[in-house]
């Protein structure tokens, strides 16, 4: 924890109260340049490929990773897999 130091009289003297010196242009401080940016603004936005999120979504529900039953049946029919092959390949064991 840090505590702000108490303001001094000098802190209250702002440019508005100081008359410009003769034959000299008024100095204009660049806006906000001295103000530090918020940590959120300074931090670069990190992006990750959508595939990573898709995978974590799949793994959040392990049953969801497996193929639908109808699709397993269709695949078995197309590739001539026996019911033992299907059991070996697609039985959810993880």
């Amino acid at each position: 924890m840090t505590k702000k130091s108490a303001p001094t009289v000098g802190d209250f003297v702002t440019a508005a109260y100081v008359a410009p010196k003769r034959a000299r242009a008024t100095e204009i401080a660049p806006a906000d340049r001295s103000r530090p940016k918020s940590p959120r603004a300074r931090r670069p936005i990190k992006f990750i490929p959508m595939e990573e999120l898709m995978l974590s979504d799949l793994e959040a529900n392990s049953n969801f990773v497996s193929l639908p039953t109808e699709e397993i049946e269709r695949i078995a029919q197309i590739f001539g897999l026996s019911s033992e092959d299907v059991a070996a390949l697609y039985a959810p064991r993880i």
Binding site: I45, K46, F47, I48, P49, M50, E51, E52, L53, M54, L55, S56, D57, L58, A60, V65, S66, L67, P68, E70, E71, I72, R74, I75, I78, F79, G80, L81, E84, D85, A88, L89, Y90, A91, P92, R93, I94
Partner: protein, 237 residues
């Protein structure tokens, strides 16, 4: 040579312009049957806003790059091409912030995209399944290799990976997997991806396909593939 458009909260138009604005607007009216604002709003549904850059490339192909915002913060960027004459779309890349995990944001992006592509008469989406996760994830999401040649090339890679773990599989398992890898049918990729045989703390499908690269497509006329995709992106429960 682009058009740009900014959509704010509740679909309000925030900014627009660009040298191709009129041409892109005409493209939307022709192929999407509504104007560019509606096109942008459809892609921004369920988000707080978006900045889009659109460009017509070679006749009627539209290239779209889009930054998506939620609560004032950029949460995603996506790039894709739509070729309505060929009835094809190509999903180039999509990135999101890690904070969007478990928010379903990527599903909303894919749902919006699907609706827009459907309204543009697109019948297939293609992409390059790559990076560390893409080769496995897109197969699980219903995509299959674009051509038999693509599948043959990928099958060669999978055969080599399978050899390295052959001793860890039971003879019956190895037999069934070898049958799939040797098949000329590109649907074999899905059959392999869905395999739940445990291998090295994961499943066989994931072990074989993680880190692979292949050109894939989702054909809307293939009912089972579309159904898998719709389920994965949350359109169908």
């Amino acid at each position: 040579m682009t058009a740009f458009i900014g959509i704010g909260s509740r679909g309000g138009l925030r900014s627009f312009g660009g040298t191709q604005f009129a041409q892109v607007n005409r493209w939307c009216t022709t192929w999407f049957k509504r104007d560019l604002i509606h096109f942008s709003q459809a892609l921004t549904m369920r988000f707080n806003g978006a900045n889009m850059v659109l460009r017509l490339i070679s006749e009627d192909r539209l290239l779209v790059r889009m930054q998506i915002f939620q609560a004032g913060t950029r949460i995603a960027s996506i790039a894709f091409r739509i070729d309505p004459q060929q009835q094809r779309a190509f999903l180039s890349w999509t990135v999101l912030t890690p904070a969007t995990q478990r928010t379903g944001a990527f599903k909303h992006i894919l749902q919006n995209l699907l609706l827009v592509l459907r309204d543009c008469g697109i019948t297939r989406i293609s992409l390059v399944a790559s990076l560390s996760h893409g080769g496995y994830v897109w197969a699980i999401y219903g995509f299959v290799p674009e051509t038999a040649g693509q599948w043959a090339r990928l099958a060669g890679v999978l055969r080599r990976k399978l050899l390295a773990i052959a001793s860890e599989l039971k003879p019956a398992e190895l037999d069934a997997v070898q049958k799939l890898v040797a098949s000329p049918d590109r649907l074999a990729l899905r059959a392999l991806a869905g395999s739940a045989i445990p291998v090295r703390d994961t499943t066989l499908g994931k072990h074989l396909l993680m880190g692979t690269e292949w050109k894939g497509e989702l054909d809307f006329s293939d009912g089972p593939s579309v159904l898998i995709y719709l389920k994965r992106i949350g359109v169908v429960p």
